[in-house]
Subunit: 352 residues, 2 copies
Amino acid sequence: MSRTYKLAVIPGDGIGPEVTAQALKVLDLVAAEHGVAFDKTEFNLGAKRWHATGEVLPDAELASIRTHDAILLGAVGDPTVPSGTLERGLLLKLRFELDHYVNLRPSKIYPGVPTPLANPGVVDFVVVREGTEGPYVGNGGAIRVGTPQELATEVSVNTAFGVERVVRDAFARAQARPRKKLTLVHKNNVLVHAGHLWTRTVDAVATEFPDIAVDYLHVDAATIFLVTDPSRFDVIVTDNLFGDILTDLAAAVTGGIGVAASGNINPDGTAPSMFEPVHGSAPDIAGQSKADPTAAILSAALLLDHLGLPEAAAQINAAVESDIASRGTSPRSTEEVGEAIAARVAGGVAVG
Amino acid sequence: MSRTYKLAVIPGDGIGPEVTAQALKVLDLVAAEHGVAFDKTEFNLGAKRWHATGEVLPDAELASIRTHDAILLGAVGDPTVPSGTLERGLLLKLRFELDHYVNLRPSKIYPGVPTPLANPGVVDFVVVREGTEGPYVGNGGAIRVGTPQELATEVSVNTAFGVERVVRDAFARAQARPRKKLTLVHKNNVLVHAGHLWTRTVDAVATEFPDIAVDYLHVDAATIFLVTDPSRFDVIVTDNLFGDILTDLAAAVTGGIGVAASGNINPDGTAPSMFEPVHGSAPDIAGQSKADPTAAILSAALLLDHLGLPEAAAQINAAVESDIASRGTSPRSTEEVGEAIAARVAGGVAVG
Ligand SMILES: CC(C)[C@H](C(=O)O)[C@@H](O)C(=O)O
Ligand SMILES: CC(C)[C@H](C(=O)O)[C@@H](O)C(=O)O
């Protein structure tokens, strides 16, 4: 059996290309072992492109990206691009245009990883962040800009359609996990309209999943538990903005954004899903081979899993886990980490 | 010299009355030492009242509260009241009606307090959370509720007037602190309209405070630093929702909501300011004398400071600090903690 997948690669800016190179190396290696191949098209998008041409995401390139089976993204942006230009015009544009309604962010404390918590316990949960609604829709505006009468708004848009599909996906993920627990995070005591839609939807879908234990936390309380009792979480489902905040916090708690991977998933398969590390382009350390490629490599594992290759994904996860467990305190270069993980993939670390 | 202040007291529900009793005991004690007195009016508002009468905050009571010099609130709510009823109808109604545009939340790791962080360092910052705008304005709605076509929105409203006054207050607070540092937290790469108003306002006001070092963090990055490097913060200024999230997280990091106090401040003095612990009514431990009254007592100190009695406030803070430093591991009742702090106030703990 052999299949070739079309992979769109957006290395991006800063440390993006550095970590992407390592992720591709590991991806190709494991793919070969599983009898599949990746036919890659690189897209030059991000700050460099914007500086050079003023373009963010031309329609023709978006159309071309659509023809691929999946997308691997490094990181985009640098501080000289006006804030929002690449975020709204490229990253969120891709998530919205390709209907990435499940923004999947696993959080796990790997044995050996340093965490800022004194007693974290066993932590292994996944955040299912809604990816196409909420305050991220870009439905805001401003009048009288720059005057003392300026008024600026941001509208969080939530639909039964959009909430139900992501809630259903989260329940299915909880079902596939041993603990079978789902926590809705929102702020339904203040954002009552959106909050009640989310709460009612979870209650309704819960009746179809009687074996899943469901609870609810306000977003402020959830941040407390993420540092005082992170092991209580299994699957968290939440809106786009709360998910953004909670997943960065979760990454910090579970050993840093150096190991936090994410998938922007279109579960219906109507467009390619996109996989990226949670971290940004980190211009301060770019070009120095200091970036940790682990998050990008774990994102490649999420990509394999999404393409229906769970054994290949597990092989990367096991290699990463075993590499992390044996990491010393002496710093390694981006390539060294990539090589070490690749060696463990090739060496056939036991997949547990 | 002697002055009597009119104090509105809203003990509320759950542990609210328990912690409020201890806060009042300490407040009266320190007031007597400073030649002032509090003439208290108790308002029966919250879940109990709602259950008994269906009323949340009758106009006449709001008008009566307005005639006071300050408000001390315990905590309101219980799980049998529909979510949002008391939050929007009582707590937020008071904040909005009384123009509490500065929601002040100090975060400090007191020596001796247990924190979930392995190496927190010296942490002592204050969050200036905007209190009268943002997604808290209640400007949302829903159509086709309960149908597959439901649409629910929440609008974040931000005005130059509202942003500038709270930013100015935050700069003034930074100026009065030794480190003279101010961090704006927002999400201006996604919420571009509101975010740019906040960013531009901070940049403009900064020119009047040339000795304040200013920086900016996205809210997701701010949560990371709150657990990995909380000592970097001095004064944080942020919007209503981000402030809600960051201050609960800050409380968790600095030893728990048992010691997190807050002031809902109207700096212009056009209405009384309100002081309350950050914690809620905790119905699960209510009536058992298990609640820690420290946050309520520290809220009373913020109240004294706001009324222009900084020495009296410092006396409470010193008593709390010295009590915390000598806390053992054996649990004490709510009264015992209150008594211990009162004894240190009476005993004249040195005010540092
Ligand atoms: C860069 C930004 C638009 C993005 C987001 O807010 O979603 C990032 O923080 C993330 O979490 O992927
Ligand atoms: C109870 C709720 C309305 C309130 C808020 O969100 O402001 C609380 O969480 C707080 O922080 O004081």
